[in-house]
Symmetry: C4
Subunit: 206 residues, 4 copies
């Protein structure tokens, strides 16, 4: 049963999940309560005090965005789907859907004594996400080969290597973060910049 575009609904469902997971992040940021007789500047101060929430929001939104750009570019080299690929895509989406939770934990505890645990758990969760991403890329190669015939094998290998790199990178980040939370946080931001650069590559064209 041939189809005009066998990837269209997969894209629609995935785009929906990417979009919603990004958007739900804002629900974790609560309006600060100020005493009615507090000085006016108090509301500014309370809004500024929410910086961990803003930081976590930007970090997670940015991570989901990079993953969306990669997902978007990767699907373009495919010509078909398989059932293992549909389920691997589902697993990837599951891990993305869950991101608001470690983000909320990070935002809640980043400026407390528990910063190490919070940052390590965030990085630990990223290990899991990257593992799902790697499985997803692997099901492009087998059991059914999904890639368009005009795409060189080297491109697929490069994609798989890129997804593989994430697992050890976030594992190390998690261990560092446990002892030195702010270094771990810096590594998270640096890795994010690294993925962006990697996805932009040597060309700015898509």
């Amino acid at each position: 049963m041939p189809d005009k575009n066998p990837l269209a609904r997969l894209e629609a469902y995935s785009d929906g999940i990417f979009a919603i997971a990004s958007t739900l992040l804002v629900l974790e940021i609560k309006v600060p309560a100020v005493a009615p007789d507090a000085p006016l500047g108090e509301l500014w101060r309370r809004l500024a005090d929410l910086w961990p929430s803003y930081l976590a929001f930007v970090l997670s939104f940015g991570s989901i965005l990079v993953m969306w750009v990669n997902h978007h570019n990767s699907l373009r080299i495919l010509q078909r789907t398989s059932k293992p690929f549909l389920y691997a895509n589902g697993l990837l989406l599951l891990t993305i859907t869950f991101i608001p939770f470690p983000t909320a934990v990070l935002a809640r505890y980043i400026d407390t004594r528990f910063a190490g645990v919070a940052t390590a758990s965030y990085a630990g969760y990223a290990v899991f996400t990257n593992f799902a991403y790697w499985i997803w890329a692997a099901t492009m190669r087998g059991p059914v080969y999904l890639v368009r015939p005009d795409v060189p094998r080297a491109e697929l290998t490069a994609l798989e290597r890129r997804t593989w790199a994430g697992v050890p990178a976030y594992l190390v980040t998690g261990i560092v973060a446990w002892w030195l939370p702010s270094v771990g946080l810096g590594l998270l931001v640096a890795l994010w910049g690294f993925w962006i650069m990697l996805s932009v590559g040597s060309t700015v064209e898509t």
Copy 2:
């Protein structure tokens, strides 16, 4: 009034609902509160204590994913829609939209004395979902026959039988779960694996 693709908006609306219902599940998982002077390991422990929420999240996300894959594959054998089918699809989406609620009940009570009630109500709700799914499949056959002429009747019959099997399976699971919650939970997971295998079938191609 002919249309290029009469199913396109039905798919878009359905994909939106499937995607959002999956994603809202995470909002039910709340960041644990830890006393400021608690030992550092306390946050890990509290995060681990949330296992019923994680389990319920994965179970429901997985169920919605399987239903999405089936919905996706079923729509591909159709060539048109009818108003009864639009409303039957609406009823199916209603039942899917509601899934975050029984999921939250399951997560809240699975490790309490009320585990039996929570698991039974989750399975009971699945009876309802599967019933809606069966009605949905039935409206493909009548009052207007929606299936493409090149699709063998046997394929539609197989689809209907599959949707029909869900109702008694979850009914039994619900009754068992009422007395033996962990057996019921095991059955829920087993049924989920069974639907995945059934949807993959003898071929990994879509």
Copy 3:
């Protein structure tokens, strides 16, 4: 600047809003709290006590579904858009987006002394929704005529009359509901059934 399908993104944006407004309704239903030493049946009782929430959920989901079916069918007679139509569509979507709020008010107060106020405000809000729907249909006719040339004028007139009927119908329902809440609620359900029948019309085909 011609476009392949000038309505495609309007549909995507509208479908997104319809889908999300339907799905957010479930977030208003909270998991009941049960005392740890309560009899097991207590959780069943508490789940059953949430009937106003279930009823409001089904009523609002159903209303949004009927509006989606009508929106879907109405767009099919158009061949283009205009800026007034884009903004009228925006106003319609605004009213649909807001539906979770009167729904939550209805669910919260339907079984209290305030049932009359809650039902009347729900019906009153439906007046507003139907008014937006009527404006939306009016901008199909002017200032730019958007309907395909092969569609008879009578069909557009019938559509406008149908949207116009909603305003007085919900106005009367609101006034009745203020004095007799359960009659008002019955009228809401009856009107919903009426719109479904009207949209199905004399044919089950789309």
Copy 4:
């Protein structure tokens, strides 16, 4: 690797975010609590007392709608994407996703002593949004020129000037709002009307 429509998924992801950000706004409006023995009119009064929430909801929904109409119309002059444009679009979506938060702050404090701070922070946030919008428009021109060859350069220049105007306009509004909150609020509404008129322009056709 050519693509049939290189903008299709960008539109789908963007439409998803616009739609969800609009819809989440309603979650910030909470059902008022009324004492069980209060006079019946009390519920009406409490519903009326929520006017700041309704106002903020309409203001933000309207702003997102205008941005969506502009986004929609701007994408129509493009023939391709570039990676900088994908990330600039991501930044724009990030700012839109965040809108429910300043909206909730505005709704919470508009009728308190803190009205100036709340309105100023809302306008200040709009400065940021408009800045992202301007970057977005700039990446249409470079480093890769994305506009269709048949679109006159003047049209792109007009688009950029329009996006540029937003930054100083909201900056002034923010400063005024700090001292005179209701004037600031009036300016916010006036600016919104102004963008609508600007987007409708001299023609009602799209």
